[in-house]
């Protein structure tokens, strides 16, 4: 079956109808090509987006105070909820499964700029009162010095860690900021470190324009008393962020006498939910890609099947003659099946290679650091798995025509003049 003669026959028949063979092959080629390209770009989009969340903990919970909407225990609705150090201590004590815990304060309103200066240089930056754990919740890369530590917080040290945008504005390029003084709203702080954001895009830029000072120092220096703006928390490996979120809310609700059904008193955000939503979205995209890709391929295979039917019909006389000369049904079937499989295989694998090549080119053009897109690529196992299934498809697309070929009556075939 796999001798040279059989292959010669296949090549000969394909050559006899170059245009038709090419067009048929084009269908399969296109299907495979599109499948690879779509898989690649789906993957690129997914990795790009995930990198956009970049290192940003996927199990982070943020909890802040809002106004209540239900009366409870003698309190009127519309009461504003504010947190303090006692709340922070209680949450840390009572909630299980917390890995990193960081009560935070921000100077001024949310994302509001402040007057920061060093000598003649000034700038508007976001100033945060933070715990040492914060660097694990919003990952950063230290460029100079270090981040805040527990002693800074315990001793109310007037120290600051600055983002690289802050560094660029207040310092000369190459200058070591560690040990230098800056003023925030007129209060002097010593810089102990500078960092680069580990996140790309807007979020990274915002982080780069931030100054972190010890949480305790913040409360004291800016007259915040024992107020806590909000909490940033991550669950540990065993606890889901959703569980932690619910537990923290319960503790705070209890402490602040908020109605259990009040959805308004406590505001919270849970990155796990977003992450899940996004995972689902990409799962959906992948499903769609496979659906469209395989449907396109299937159309190509139907084309192969059709063409093989035509080929068999055209070669009725030839097949009849071969039978008269002693061709067994098996040899006729294998000729048709092999031709369908070879045609599909060549076209499909060309599409596969073509698709992968295009992805490679796009990869090089995009480069590894594109903010919105990862480099598109397809898992080779997936690619060649698809190729193998395609070959099977080619084989099956030949079955019906092969059946037709075998049913040709030698007598009728030779007489059909």
């Amino acid at each position: 079956m796999f001798d040279l003669d059989t292959w010669q026959e296949i090549v000969q028949t394909m050559r006899r109808n170059k245009l038709r063979t090419t067009l048929t092959a084009a269908g399969v080629f296109w299907g495979m090509f599109m499948l690879m390209v779509m898989l690649g770009f789906g993957d690129a989009l997914e990795r790009g987006t995930k990198r956009g969340m970049g290192g940003f903990a996927t199990n982070a919970v943020y909890i802040w105070g809002q106004r209540t909407s239900l009366p409870y225990k003698g309190f009127q609705p519309g009461r504003s909820i504010d947190y303090n150090n006692a709340d922070a201590a209680a949450v840390k004590r009572e909630v299980d499964g917390i890995e990193y815990f960081a009560p935070r304060n921000q100077l001024g309103g949310y994302q509001d700029g402040n007057n920061v200066g060093r000598g003649a240089k000034t700038g508007n930056f976001q100033v945060m009162g933070d715990m040492p754990d914060m660097r694990f919740i919003q990952p950063m890369e230290m460029v100079h010095g270090r981040f805040l530590n527990d002693l800074d917080v315990q001793r109310h040290r007037k120290v600051a860690v600055i983002g690289n945008t802050v560094y660029e504005v207040l310092f000369q390029n190459g200058e070591d900021p560690v040990g230098q003084q800056i003023t925030i709203n007129g209060v002097s702080f010593m810089v102990i470190g500078s960092f680069k954001s580990a996140m790309p895009g807007d979020r990274g830029e915002r982080q780069a324009g931030t100054i972190h000072i010890p949480f305790s120092t913040f409360q004291r220096a800016f007259n915040y008393g024992d107020r806590v703006g909000w909490f940033a928390i991550t669950g540990d490996a065993d606890a889901s962020a959703t569980q932690v979120e619910a537990h923290v809310r319960a503790v705070l609700r209890n402490r602040h006498s908020i109605h259990p059904d009040d959805s308004q008193g406590i505001g919270s955000y849970n990155s796990e939910k977003d992450f899940e939503k996004m995972s689902n979205l990409f799962w959906g995209i992948r499903l769609f890609v496979w659906f469209v890709g395989t449907a396109t391929l299937a159309t190509g295979l139907v084309g192969v099947s059709n063409i093989m039917l035509i080929v068999v019909r055209e070669r009725t006389k030839e097949i009849g003659l071969r039978r008269a000369l002693g061709a067994t049904p098996f040899s006729v079937v294998s000729l048709v099946l092999l031709e369908a499989t070879v045609l599909t295989g060549i076209a499909g694998y060309s599409g596969l290679i073509g698709g992968l090549a295009l992805l490679q080119i796009v990869s090089v053009v995009i480069g590894p650091d594109n903010p919105s897109m990862g480099q598109p690529r397809v898992d080779l196992v997936v690619a060649f798995g698809a190729g193998f299934i395609l070959l099977l498809g080619g084989f099956f697309s030949g079955l019906l025509p092969a059946q037709r070929a075998v049913n040709i009556k030698t007598v009728d075939a030779l007489r059909a003049d």
Partner: protein, 222 residues
Amino acid sequence: MIRLENINKFYQVGGKPLHVLKELSLTIETGEYVSIMGSSGSGKSTLLNILGILDDYDSGNYHLGGTLIRDLSETQAAQYRNAYIGFVFQSFHLLPFKNAIENVALPLYYRGISRKERNVTAMDFLDRVGLADRAHHLPSELSGGQKQRLAIARALISEPRIILADEPTGALDTTTSDEVMQVIEAVNASGITVIVVTHEQDIADRTSRIITLRDGAMAVDG
């Protein structure tokens, strides 16, 4: 060599059975040179198909070289055809995309003989029909007579016991016909049974026995 006993054959034509061969009995000995004549519709093509194991029959017995040919699987039929019978057709039925030597060698391909051996044998048979110098020509580059001689070489290469020729000269002019018939007669002289289906009296006259069919039954035998 060939023994037909009470062969009946029906075709379904428009839902109605058409009785094509009626109780046909016939014996052909080894080495005979026989022609089958008959007007169109007399059943001569059908008879040829049954003899060539290209078609089956509805009742009766067909013995070929002592073997009962009945209810064969397609694969068995293919093997018998390959081993016993060489076909020559009116319209040659050469594969247009294969050259002369490949066309001649085709039956040996189905016998599983290696390409090298096939080609040596095919060359020998091409030489016998005087086409050795055309070995690498495509059928389209050959004349009608050459094509038919090529087809005869193809029929002979499997060293069959019987040559079945269906209007072998039907597509040829008189001179070429004579040429082809001479080749066929030489084949017969070598001891192979030859059965020629024809409607040309002068072709039939060259054979040693003329069987005439009329309406699916034997009309004249002699």
